[in-house]
Subunit: 379 residues, 2 copies
């Protein structure tokens, strides 16, 4: 008997109540029952995004909404500033490249902090840049980026959009779209929304809709103006991922019932306990500005990060994640976003202690868990 | 108490066994358990498509794979022949237009038969056409198009691809991709595959992969060459719709266990019984060459087709579909693809008799059901 604990940065655990709702007989999407579900989901997505504007819903992975953030806003030959500091920053650059958008890349060593002054400088050097494309959390490194500070700069540039991939961020920490002047805020279902992958979201500001009118890049499946028009009738442009939207209604209700501030506080404490627990074991946190969504932990000298990740998963039942691309073998990751509680963190740190002991790392058993308990006491 | 019967042309009924599999705790996609599921699904998709080639899997509605059939095969300024005879033929034309592909449209009145000679003529007049884009079933009219006969013509044109939207067709009737020389065969999850919407498929021939090498249209989320490369490792290019792929494994197992020929025979008889039952009531079938997937029935003189569709659904518990666009009010539709059996047809014809009686149509109650029973006796 081996129970399984999913603590990966997506997919995350799905509440059994949500799984069972999605297992009910499927309903047709072109009728009032489904439309009433979409109506509720629209309202609660606005609550989650903290926006008065419409949040678009797509049947795709989060990347589909990232692509749409380029193709619905820009034209070929436009310039965009992207921050490359991990696998997902690279993705912004690759999308731009695929569509003939010139990128001004701000290169930051993976895991390092992002200095908003670099964005300001790039904007001054490229006043014709039509957008700044960043991540809220760079999932590959566990780094959180200063969205508010950067948005405060970009808002002074009327011809530049602030676009944030918050696939790992929305429902994790504060990202109020309207208050912070985020023009496009992108989300995905399989993270803090506690759903299977297959839905993507985009909150779109009035300023972004003005850009949309002038955008000439080709699009069809991800045509945001048409999605917007359909949403006004509580419909989608193409057949929606019905079962996931039924699940979304439930998970948004759960988030609203807990309250955004409580969700943010819970995940913040879980992440802190994960970091402190790991550090008590003598390990280092990889990101200089760690995100509460996912903690990237540096494998100790002489021990392979992939060996830790695999032991956690295979022998000790805890599915985290390894390192990607250049970080493979150097780090392993434990996520605390979504449907995670204090006992998940205690489980993860326990499994980490078992694993490190197996791998010959020297430490006193229990010090990691003890530290985690201390952090979690008042949650 | 009102039991609900879903007989729409997508989504279709989902077997409870499949719903429950998808309700199991979600698994992570970057690990061997998920990879073993993808490996099995790849094999069984090849069985369903009757191809030796890879069938690509996308997290999107079927339209995503339709878009990819244009963007991965063609370049801006290319010419494509499309058959416009309903809402989905129009979609091929609209996708081409969005991407700067010139369309040669063969216009056929909605519901009429398609003459393969028209395709031959269009090809002779446009020898530079890079593709012929058609539907297997035009879902909006219930018409089946002569895929084999058209493919037999197109195969003689080495610079032209045969592309079939078989979203409503795959798993319904014979469409052997390799034997018939279909270059791109597109499917979706929410039809004969008995799953929720959210997965799209594309079987791709060797000839189509040669076109892919030369295609210059921009793509990123729907980049088929990258999906192909990932599938070789039993992975997908972006986070897959995990729960739907878990369900897909089950529904493909069910299809394989029944056997494709038996599936085709069952659905063929169900559709025949639906048509004969309706005709016994004095109603007309809209399509001249009806598809077994969905039967479009003409509303009798003086009765609104939407009133029939709505009564079937609201008062009598049977969710079919109304008419779309120019057919709104003129027809209503009852589908028999996927997880449908003889009692579903008897239920649908019974509900139709109740409805017609309510709406003042003159007929002898029971003659429709009696005719359906006769057709279904040996299933």
């Amino acid at each position: 008997m081996q129970k399984r604990y999913l603590l990966a940065p997506g997919p995350t655990q799905i509440p059994p109540e949500v799984l069972l709702k999605m297992a009910e007989p499927i309903i047709h999407h072109r009728n009032p029952l489904f439309e009433s579900i979409v109506a509720e989901v629209r309202e609660n997505l606005k609550y989650l995004f903290e926006t008065k504007n419409e949040v678009l819903i797509f049947a795709s992975s989060g990347t589909g909404a990232m692509e749409g953030s380029v193709t619905n806003m820009l034209s070929a030959g436009d310039k965009a500033i992207v921050v490359r500091s991990g696998k997902f920053g690279d993705r912004w650059a690759n999308i731009c490249k695929a569509y003939g958008v010139e990128t001004i890349a701000i290169e930051i060593p993976w895991g390092d902090a992002m200095d908003p002054a670099d964005i300001e400088k790039a904007l001054k050097n490229n006043p014709d840049a039509k957008g700044v494309y960043i991540q809220a959390t760079e999932t590959s490194t566990g780094a959180k980026f200063p969205v508010k500070e950067i948005a405060d700069i970009v808002k002074n540039y009327p011809d530049t959009l602030m676009v944030v991939d918050a696939i790992t961020g929305l429902g994790v920490f504060e990202l109020p779209q309207d208050k912070w002047n985020i023009d496009v805020l992108v989300g995905g279902s399989q993270k803090a929304l506690m759903l299977p992958p297959g839905l993507a979201f985009a909150g779109v500001s009035d300023k972004a809709w003005e850009f949309n009118k002038k955008s000439k890049l080709p699009k069809f499946y991800f045509n945001w103006a048409k999605e917007f028009a359909n949403l006004q009738k509580n419909q989608t442009n193409f057949t929606p991922a019905i079962s996931l939207i039924v699940g979304l209604r439930e998970s948004l209700r759960m988030i609203k019932e807990e309250g955004l501030e409580n969700v943010y506080r819970r995940i913040d404490i879980l992440a802190k306990a994960t970091r402190e627990g790991a550090m008590a074991l003598g390990l280092k946190i990889f990101a200089k500005t760690p995100s509460a969504a996912v903690t990237a932990i540096v494998a100790p000298e002489g021990i392979d990060g992939q060996a830790i990740y695999k032991s956690l998963w295979k022998k000790y039942g805890v599915t985290g994640a390894g390192g990607q691309d250049q970080l493979k073998g150097k780090i392993f990751r434990i996520a605390t976003l979504g449907y995670a509680d204090k006992y998940d963190v205690i489980t993860a740190i326990s499994a980490l202690e078992f694993t490190l002991k197996d791998l010959g790392y020297k430490f006193q058993m229990g010090v990691g868990v003890a530290k985690a308990l201390e952090c979690l006491k008042d949650l």
